[in-house]
Symmetry: C4
Subunit: 278 residues, 4 copies
Amino acid sequence: MSEPDFKYFSRFRNQLFHIVFGTDTRSGKLFDIVLLWAIVLSVISVMLESVSSIREAYDDVFFVTEWLFTVLFTVEYLLRLFITAKPKKYAFSFFGIIDLLATLPTYITLFVAGGSYLVVIRSIRLLRIFRILKLGRYLREASVLSDALAASRYKIFVFLGAVFTLAMIMGTLMYMIEGGESGFTSIPRSIYWAIVTITTVGYGDIAPQTVLGQAFASMLMLMGYAIIAVPTGIVTSEIASAEKNKRKEESAGRVCAACGIKGHDKDAIFCKNCSAKL
Amino acid sequence: MSEPDFKYFSRFRNQLFHIVFGTDTRSGKLFDIVLLWAIVLSVISVMLESVSSIREAYDDVFFVTEWLFTVLFTVEYLLRLFITAKPKKYAFSFFGIIDLLATLPTYITLFVAGGSYLVVIRSIRLLRIFRILKLGRYLREASVLSDALAASRYKIFVFLGAVFTLAMIMGTLMYMIEGGESGFTSIPRSIYWAIVTITTVGYGDIAPQTVLGQAFASMLMLMGYAIIAVPTGIVTSEIASAEKNKRKEESAGRVCAACGIKGHDKDAIFCKNCSAKL
Amino acid sequence: MSEPDFKYFSRFRNQLFHIVFGTDTRSGKLFDIVLLWAIVLSVISVMLESVSSIREAYDDVFFVTEWLFTVLFTVEYLLRLFITAKPKKYAFSFFGIIDLLATLPTYITLFVAGGSYLVVIRSIRLLRIFRILKLGRYLREASVLSDALAASRYKIFVFLGAVFTLAMIMGTLMYMIEGGESGFTSIPRSIYWAIVTITTVGYGDIAPQTVLGQAFASMLMLMGYAIIAVPTGIVTSEIASAEKNKRKEESAGRVCAACGIKGHDKDAIFCKNCSAKL
Amino acid sequence: MSEPDFKYFSRFRNQLFHIVFGTDTRSGKLFDIVLLWAIVLSVISVMLESVSSIREAYDDVFFVTEWLFTVLFTVEYLLRLFITAKPKKYAFSFFGIIDLLATLPTYITLFVAGGSYLVVIRSIRLLRIFRILKLGRYLREASVLSDALAASRYKIFVFLGAVFTLAMIMGTLMYMIEGGESGFTSIPRSIYWAIVTITTVGYGDIAPQTVLGQAFASMLMLMGYAIIAVPTGIVTSEIASAEKNKRKEESAGRVCAACGIKGHDKDAIFCKNCSAKL
């Protein structure tokens, strides 16, 4: 490639980059919106295909649609890999992996039947929507939420470990009490029932019939009712402190260009030290 | 209209305004109470009409009652439009739209059958009750609640987006695991089941039967149990800060007439600066 | 009655008062414990009586037991009325009314059959147990809880009003969507279903079958899931501030006898101003 | 035993102690990991044995496995008792009792049939896992959680007492309303239903059919929905203050070796007073 050619090519690649990865320009926004609709349509098409009456009537349509979207998303994925400056970093990023996984299921159906439903993984790509709608605001909130969850992960593990141990013991006791009757046919099934009960889901497909079993179940329910307070308490106190940290960070991040003073309020317009505009 | 006529008319209109829109005068309160009972009766009449055994016995009564209330509410709506100084503002206000919608369903039944049940929209009008019972106190609390919800709307959207994506993926996986058995007949139905499970509602009309399905369902329940902590944590921290802001606002709003100092306590009787009565 | 007689009588009445109402003396504690066991036995006897197989076998026993406990509690009630200094105040206090109601149901059965089950109201008397077990500590916590609930009662009313209006509208919509099928046979029943769903109870006796109905139900569940955060948030922030107030009150209540300074820490042993022992 | 023999023996015992109780050395970690796997396998084996189809096919295998693990755990328990310096303290510690209970069930089956399922108590031993995985971090969080639960135990008891009393009264009322129909066959069963409803579990095996019953049930659900906020609020405010105390304690625990000043930040590297390395 001669140098001017390369220059043109580089400029073209740069423009493409802004369209595919950016959301600031008009064409960049349009690209993202078209992409989101394509994802929505492909996911809906997979869902409708699973309804047997619809599948029988429009079998061919679904076959064509599926391959069309798959080719489209494959081209898009290769394009992204090609135009980004750091293909490796993209390929191993969260969205890079999701973008790849979103194309694979249809190819898998060439070898294994039934894999096409995995296409639903495409729905994760819809989270891109937050990049278009007032990007920053949503990202900020998502980061507060994920900070809070990350900070409480140890407590949550301890908590889930304790709940699961409780479910195992109560499930086994109920199996011994109900004696294989009214759905408690094995210990794993009884543990499944105990989890259904502690989490207050309560399907009712398995339910105690003996008086002793109902007394035990009542105890378990009251425990579950009180226990649910624990993760809530954990996450609440973490969200409160994550929110506080975020605000501190934001105000610390605002530095006056004139005098270098930090720590301005989030809504401050002038520097509180030298009155220069921020 | 001659001028004295107009004057009398204007005074009459003013009096009517205080009766219809106000709650301070005796007649204004009476009007509101009569109106609330009319709304309650009309809503109850629609509900009873839906019970087939009652409908068959008192068919005529319901027909008469419905038209009676509809004419009454139509007259009331036109009256409100007529006596308010800014008819446009009222017509497009929250209660203005609800007042209009409350009259329409019965007219719709002239053209389309079955629309009469929409009359239930009248129940929203019952929220007027808070205007009568110690108005200010309830409005204050409602405003704290709605401020907190408004402040947490971005976090709630991010959260609901994540929950719905999780429900789609888990629903599809369960459809593949249970293989169209025990109620998981299509992906949309399986997603419905996943939402029923994550939110801990747990009807039990669809419930996993296979061991693998029950293991997956248990995981989903524990996730739902931990996830419910997130909106709670969000709203709790927002309510706490909305309550704080409200109190700050209230004390900031109290200005001493004598010396102009702000920031008096909510229950202060004298100015803390110059001891003048507030 | 001669004066010395009256004196003896007054002393006797005073001793009785300490036994019946007090929990400090040995005999006062014993009286309360015997009473609690009598209450527990009488409530258990009513419950067992409701089990038809047991009732048929021991019909006479239940009849005798019931009248025995009723006479016992009647005597106790009259005794309390007689020995307290202010009978009127006791009669209209919370426990005074409960004590009376606890004796009435059996007398009612002389005139109306079936009233005997109302005896269960005696179980409220069991709350006296908190008077025996480390009285103060429990009363303190109960007062924090009831302060928090009292402070949030306006917000809770606004909230329940909004939830009930939502249930009415969604119930009516579901009645129109499901068209009298799958349990949605009338609007009141559909509203019952809507409440079962919003509160995440989810019996499953009524459940949507149509696709549109399931989509609406999913929406309602997600709303219920997010809405449950609201009362939690309200009560949490109120409990936090009730707890704070209680602590402030407690430390304000500690006054140094030597110098009169207030506001000592709850666990302080010496006055922080003059070092006198508190 | 001659003195050098005793010395060798003492050293050997010391080494064994580090392997069995410690997690710092390589062999100590290996011992714990092998032990955890043995526990997991023995618990899984008991669960599979409860599934009738599997039990019939591999009856002998389960018999051998169970005795193998039991002998193994018995040896381990005796070893622990033997090598620890204070056998009594270990025997009455939480894990000491669990370790003993984990061995007993199989011996019990020699005398009483069916006791073998109690082996599930071994699953509590799995909590040892937190000792291996980044021990300190998890212990810290567990201590925050248990501090919060301990601090709120009085409030939780008051709360559970109130909920249980409510369930008894509402259960009895529903028994009277539904009149022995639709599952409400006795007061204890109706109380079981009331607990299922208040805790929002909602199996649906018992559900009201009469209009009055459904109205009452709706009321109970809304109460349960509002009531669940109470334990959450209690635990949340306790977790927040337990977390605060923990942090204060941690920073108070850091004392500068050079100047003796306390209260350094958790992540401080140098003393804030004399700049000595902490």
